[in-house]
């Protein structure tokens, strides 16, 4: 196949089942898919293009144009079949295996790219929210900073925005990101960072019992008249125990069940704390309402996030 300078050979996404070998000249490939980080690729003599079109009839990977007068050898599906017919069947099996392995590697890279984009994504949002002390950030600014920090593609950043929107942590409106709270993105980032760097579960991840107790505490606090949000709220032990019985299916609160939350300084008892003392001797519990609410939200979102990413 002879092509003159500037002539198009094929268009990206076209249906095809042939392979090109550049015999002479130079072919420029252009792709809209920038996940590889390359938009233009030059193919000189000896290069082969679109091997997957030949093997599995995959659509054209690139738009090909001759940069100079060039000669291409076109290998058709019929030529491939004729060749393989004369060879032992395991050659066909090897080809199938290699193309399958290539697709698995491609898929792994795609998934990995998204997973690895999450920490830089959260880092940029978290630090920008902290700096501006608002819960707003422009999408354009996020994309620009992410590209500089971790080379994150627009595709991955957009996907992460979608995931965090689905989880209710962020909302994008008029190209501005609104965080559901000032702290939630930071807590999420710190939790992921702790897990990655220390190879263990972050103290922010609570047991089911602790989550239920804190949720009960929040419920009572919301209904009481103690100051919130942004402040310390107080709940009497009686109110807390009564509500726990109702919402936790007859669960009886004891000082022991409360101890993990007290030790983690999430709930504070009114009296000096001792694990053996009856809970009734503690008159009330208090806590930072926003902190507890963010933690509950984190524990709701954290397992879902892993699932969504994978």
């Amino acid at each position: 196949m002879i092509v003159t300078a500037g002539e198009y050979v094929c268009l990206e996404s076209d249906k095809a089942n042939t392979l090109f070998i550049v015999k002479s000249g130079m072919i420029v490939a252009e792709t809209q898919d920038q996940s590889s980080g390359e938009r233009y690729i030059n193919f000189g003599p000896g290069s082969i293009i679109d091997e997957l079109s030949l093997l599995e009839g995959a659509p054209r990977q690139y738009t090909l144009r001759a940069a100079e007068a060039s000669e291409l050898i076109v290998i058709s599906k019929e030529t491939l079949n004729d060749t393989l017919e004369q060879k032992p069947s395991w050659i066909t099996s090897i080809l199938q295996f290699l193309s399958k392995r290539f697709h698995i590697a491609e898929e792994n890279k795609r998934k990995n790219g998204l997973i690895q984009s999450l920490p830089p994504f959260l880092y940029i949002i978290s630090s920008n929210l902290k700096k501006s002390n608002t819960n707003k950030l422009e999408v354009k600014a996020l994309l620009k900073e992410l590209q500089a920090l971790a080379g994150t593609s627009v595709e991955n950043a957009t996907k992460l925005l979608e995931i965090l929107q689905e989880l209710g942590i962020l909302k994008v409106q008029d190209n501005v990101i609104n965080a559901s709270s000032l702290q939630i993105v930071t807590i999420l980032y710190e939790t992921i960072k702790y897990r990655a760097l220390n190879k263990k579960v972050s103290p922010n991840i609570l047991s089911m019992t602790d989550q239920m107790i804190l949720s009960t505490f929040l419920k009572v606090a919301r209904e009481s008249s103690s100051p919130r949000p942004g402040g310390i709220c107080t709940v009497t032990t009686k109110q807390l125990c009564d509500e726990a019985k109702k919402s936790m299916h007859g669960f009886t609160l004891t000082t022991r069940t409360m101890s993990s939350l007290i030790e983690r300084k999430l709930l504070f008892p009114s009296a000096t704390y001792d694990i053996h003392m009856p809970i009734e001797e503690i008159q009330f519990f208090y806590a930072d309402f926003d902190k507890v609410m963010d933690l509950i939200e984190l524990n709701r979102v954290f397992p879902l996030l892993d699932k969504k990413l994978i």
Binding site: L19, I21, I48, E51, L54, L55, I73, I75, T79, L80, T83, K87, P88, W90, I91, S93, I94, L95, F97, L98, S99, R101, F102, A105, E106, N108, K109, N112, Q116, P119, P120, Y123, I124, S127, N128, K130, K131, E145, Q147, A148, L149, A150, G151, T152, K193, A196, L197
Partner: protein, 304 residues
């Protein structure tokens, strides 16, 4: 058709009949071969750590060991017959002799697929960015201003975020410190890092990005006359709102050489922006951006 050397002698594969329990391949032997199951059933077992864990079962037509033979990837599983089976073994010599008879283009397809897969696998462990200095500047630009942060913590966190190697991070920290974008302090064995002005790091990131993409950066391309205009606009009250011709005559009084092209350029650079239709004001953020870039040109270029 372009073909390989078909006169080459072909070494045939080995076909063996094995009883259930026969070990077809053991990693200890180190003999690489592709194992194709023709009849029966094979089991791949992981014996590392002393336990026998069944990883997968092979059925007629399945094969293993291609990556091991073609790319010398280690294959750590033991392949054992779980039923009486017929197996074809293709060793290195057999495969090579057969591959030599393939047309050159088909060999090239096999090599290309292998190379692309290797590249994809390697990219999983490669740093997220090719410009680690720009990346570190973007990271440091987001650290809290005038706050000491332990250098070890920075290396750990930044390394985790970007997969840049520790040695490279240390070099990049030195490069930023040399430019005076960050300050390093040593107290005993601990070294800490402090960002005095995150805005400079923001400018540096923009400079690096622009140099990478276009080979130059707008603030460093200004002519003497444009610099005069920039200084003039920096001293102009940004509440002042005028139409284009008024701005042109206002600036011409101060910088004589100015013409309409320069006024269009001023708008393109964002020094004056249209606030209401046809009316313009000085954009002090943009003016500050260009002025700071010029003031810290030697730092940004790294020619201190």
């Amino acid at each position: 058709m372009v073909t390989g050397d078909s006169r080459q002698q072909i070494i045939p594969p080995t076909r063996i009949h094995v009883k259930a329990g026969f070990v077809v391949y053991s990693p200890e032997t180190g003999e690489r071969s592709i194992i194709i199951l023709d009849e029966g059933e094979l089991t791949a077992i992981d014996t590392t750590g002393g336990d026998r864990k069944v990883v997968f079962k092979m059925h007629p037509g399945d094969l293993v060991g291609v990556a091991s033979l073609l790319e010398r990837e280690p294959f750590h599983l033991t392949i054992e017959a779980s039923k009486d089976s017929v197996v074809t073994l293709i060793n290195e010599d057999c495969m090579e002799s057969e591959l030599k008879t393939l047309p050159v283009w088909l060999l090239a397809v096999i090599r290309t697929l292998s190379r692309k897969t290797r590249k994809l696998k390697a990219s999983l462990y490669a740093p997220a960015t090719s410009n680690s200095l720009m990346s570190l500047a973007a990271y440091c630009g987001n650290l809290p201003e005038y706050t000491d942060v332990l250098m070890d913590d920075v290396i750990r966190e930044f390394g985790w975020l970007t997969k840049v190697k520790e040695k490279d991070i240390q070099e990049d920290i030195k490069a930023l410190a040399r430019r005076r974008f960050i300050e390093l302090k040593k107290e005993g064995a601990k070294v800490s890092l402090m960002v005095p002005n995150p805005f400079l790091l923001e400018l540096f990131v923009d400079y690096q990005r622009s140099i990478e993409q276009t080979g130059s950066w707008e603030p460093f391309k200004l002519s003497i006359m444009q610099k005069k205009l920039l200084v003039t606009l920096s001293t102009t009250n940004n509440d002042m709102e005028m139409d284009g011709p008024s701005w042109l005559s206002f600036l011409a009084e101060r910088v004589k050489e100015i013409n309409v092209t320069d006024w269009i350029r001023i708008q393109k650079m964002g020094w004056c922006t249209e606030t209401t239709p046809g009316m313009f004001r000085v954009n002090s953020d943009k003016i500050n951006y260009y002025l700071t870039a010029l003031r810290f040109e030697t730092n940004i270029r790294g020619v201190l």
